[in-house]
Amino acid sequence: MNPMPDHWNYVLAAYGLAAIGLIGYWRYLAARARSLSQPQRGKGRRA
């Protein structure tokens, strides 16, 4: 059976996009927590 050519760029793309998604969500959570700990000016935002 011929071994398939290595497709490292696909592997990198998959793991990379997953990392971007997870880190992005982490940063979104941090930003939201930060805005909550600052004094509220208007209506509270929703869950």
Binding site: P3, M4, Y10, V11, L17, A47
Partner: protein, 218 residues
């Protein structure tokens, strides 16, 4: 505050587990026979969907518990779990698509697993949209709970229907991502990554629920 400290500890634990997982994916795991190194994407793809299922199970739990008890913390659980579940489902689909491109030659096929995962995504994105469009917190919680319950009950029904739908149009024995039986060491690596993802999920859930709690009090 103990809660915040516990969350932070959970986060660090998750990071460590993820590093171990990555080491297993790239260091320990050998180059696969038929597919080559692309097969390593599976170590990302399978734990991801397992985590998503955990998340949506919690959405069901939170939804039912909210309707029975009317306590907002159950709604916080449902909302938070849904958000994170959608994230992991998206990762599952994107990684599955990227995996499929060199192995099957196309970015998307309507194969049973990809399709039913995509439907799962549609259901819970709809759930999040509903939440975004209802301002009143009590009504939002009630409506979301009903949609959450129906969505969860539908998951097995969707699975069977999509699988049978594909069976008509595609030979059942189709080798591709996830079709071949897994040897023991491969299952072990998937397990390691799955534990890491579950820890990460727990960390995200904890932080997201804290935010929901704080917003309710605001």
């Amino acid at each position: 505050m103990p809660r915040v400290a516990m969350t932070r500890f959970l986060g660090w634990l998750a990071v460590c587990a993820l590093i171990v997982g990555l080491a297993a994916d790239f260091g320990y795991a050998p180059r696969e026979m038929t597919q080559g190194n692309v097969q390593r994407i599976m170590y990302l793809h399978v734990p991801s969907i397992l985590t998503a299922y955990l998340a949506f199970g919690l959405v069901l739990l939170g939804s039912v518990a909210y309707l029975l008890s009317r306590r907002a913390s159950w709604d916080h659980l449902a909302a938070s779990a849904a958000e994170i579940g959608v994230l992991f489902t998206a990762i599952t689909i994107v990684s599955g698509s990227i995996w499929g491109r060199p192995t099957w030659g196309v970015w998307w096929t309507w194969d049973a697993r990809l399709t039913s995962t995509a439907v799962l995504l549609l259901v819970y994105v709809g759930y999040l949209l509903l939440r975004a469009m209802v301002d009143e917190p009590e009504a939002r919680a009630r409506y979301a709970a009903v949609v959450g319950i129906l969505g969860a009950a539908n998951i097995p029904i969707v699975h069977f229907s999509v699988y049978w739908w594909r069976a008509l149009h595609q030979p059942a024995a189709m080798l591709g991502p996830g079709r071949a039986p897994m040897p023991g060491w491969m299952k072990g690596i998937v397990l390691v990554n799955w534990i890491a993802f579950t820890l990460l999920f727990a960390y995200f859930l904890s932080r997201r629920m804290q935010i929901a709690r704080l917003e309710e009090q605001a």
